[in-house]
Symmetry: D3
């Protein structure tokens, strides 16, 4: 099983609803280091899992609408706690759509799974992984 | 599958029995960077895997009795080589107990697996992972 | 010249005034990894630059009032762009005051300089350094 | 499931065939940080997955013939794109052979899987993992 | 003294002349993680050392002509060993020119010094620093 | 001013005398990541600060007698607290001797300064730097 992973980062503001969050209920923010990993059983004829250049581009396109934003103001996050783990799934869903519509430069059916990792600080991170088909 | 991981570190002394360890048979020590990862199929109503604050606290509580200690002197490690991989399981077992007794701020049955990673140096680390139920 | 450096991090929201900031004029946020370095010509009788435990505590005390906050709302940052470089000086000033009032567990006159480094992302950081006396 | 991972690095030149590679079609190079992870269900009588000293040696032996080389000139890579993901499998195959011939200081049948990770830059890496038996 | 540092990376091939280089006399390559640090006595009216966006752009422009190249083929490196330390000065000189011609979004005279750091591997790096005026 | 830095690590046990050390008065240990930086005004005829291969060897030779040891048992550390900052100077002194006796592959007078950095954990490190002549 081959995997290729590319990384980027965003800088966002947000707040959380729920006592469990303690001081993080207040409006605060985070630098999220986001990594997108694509899994394939076999390399393609070029010897790659996906076109790494496109992988960087697609990840950047998915992150652009939420970068330098207050996530509390965005309609797609209405009534949602935009926790690190929630956002791993948010990015996963958009990467999965990109794979299924062949935007990674390879027949999407050959990408079997995706894992999205988001580090929120030097001591905490989250990831979401699932098969695509 | 969602995972949240928190990290801490300890500074311990120990020695190993067995020729395979070469110079590490002598009393020496290590800074162990310890990461605890908790896995769940679904996020809870707050949008989290576990209460990350409690995860940090529970990890710190588990590490406290062995931090700043010579592991050779501790009764729980009697006649045991406290290798990095052995310690990943030692921390795993205590985290698993914490999850099963609902100390992570969520019904323990919703946490499906744990992975404990310990880095002993810039070039070597070990991890133990297993399902909980 | 001896230096000891300790690190912590904060998660804040803020916005910037000025076209130069482009998309960062909007309310966004950051995880700031903050390192405080203390410089001395000589070690003290214990063989240390400063009590590292106190160094961690003092840094945490200085960061606490701005951690998990929207810096735009804090009176001490009124009409100020709380850029990464601005904040290095903000933390420096408070550490310098702590050193001058002997809160680091050593006669402050023996600490000759401080450097504060703040990493805002994997690819950008800033630092401020100056002599104390 | 226990895993132990050791790391080393190599510095190589190579070029790629195929439009998908864009500017990387030209002769260029990379520092590859290579990590080899060995998986076992149980620790051995010494409390280890494998002899970590041998793991470092075996990894170094496998990397030596390709370190400080132009991979385009090596016969084993004739008509092959030596992409990061391709090389993870190349290293995996040689580590698998070492395990199967008991060169890691333990009955090879007790090592169930290997994962090889290669980081090519601060923002891109690849890995290959598979069971051995 | 304030400093802001931005980072990027390049992937190059090259070889060295001289017995001191041992196996690195052969054509090989490197991923160079390049950091550019700009020093100023005072922040400007916006509260910054330099426009960080321009700093990223200028660094990328300087690195573009040598990225994905065999440095042995480039006329500017004729009869030169393009060691890591040599390249720190090469990048420094071009950044200094950019500062002196006010391309960093601030009067160049207010930037007092530059430091360029290049990491060639997890265990080796070099830097060059000098005053500008 | 050019600097080249190489890194290695050691794993040691030790204890400290003095109330200021709190729990670190007990026998414990550390992984010390040690970096040695050599400074020169000019590159030599090969385009280097020092022979990086010799720099790695000399650093390793200096660290060997204290690696995998309990520092409390070593005569050179009798009645001394082997703090991280103390050890930076210990390594510095031995590197300075190596430079002065031309063991770095260059006339020692051309190396103007050395800086030794030791990281003891992800959140604490120390360094010592001084001119050589």
């Amino acid at each position: 099983m081959f995997t290729v992973e590319v990384s980027d980062h965003i800088m966002i503001a947000h707040s959380f609803q729920g006592e469990v969050f303690g001081p993080a209920q207040a409006l605060h923010g985070a630098t999220f280091a986001v990594s997108a990993a694509f899994v394939a059983e076999q390399l393609d004829a070029n010897g790659i899992v996906v076109d790494i250049g496109r992988a960087f581009e697609v990840l950047k396109e998915i992150l652009a609408p939420i970068n330098y934003r207050n996530l509390d103001d965005l309609p797609q996050f209405n009534h949602v706690n935009t926790t690190t783990e929630y956002l791993t799934k948010y990015v996963f869903d958009r990467l999965a759509e990109a794979v299924r519509t062949d935007r990674l430069g390879r027949d999407g059916h050959e990408i079997t799974a995706i894992r999205v990792t988001i580090a929120e600080s030097p001591s905490a991170r989250a990831w979401y992984e699932a098969h695509l088909w």
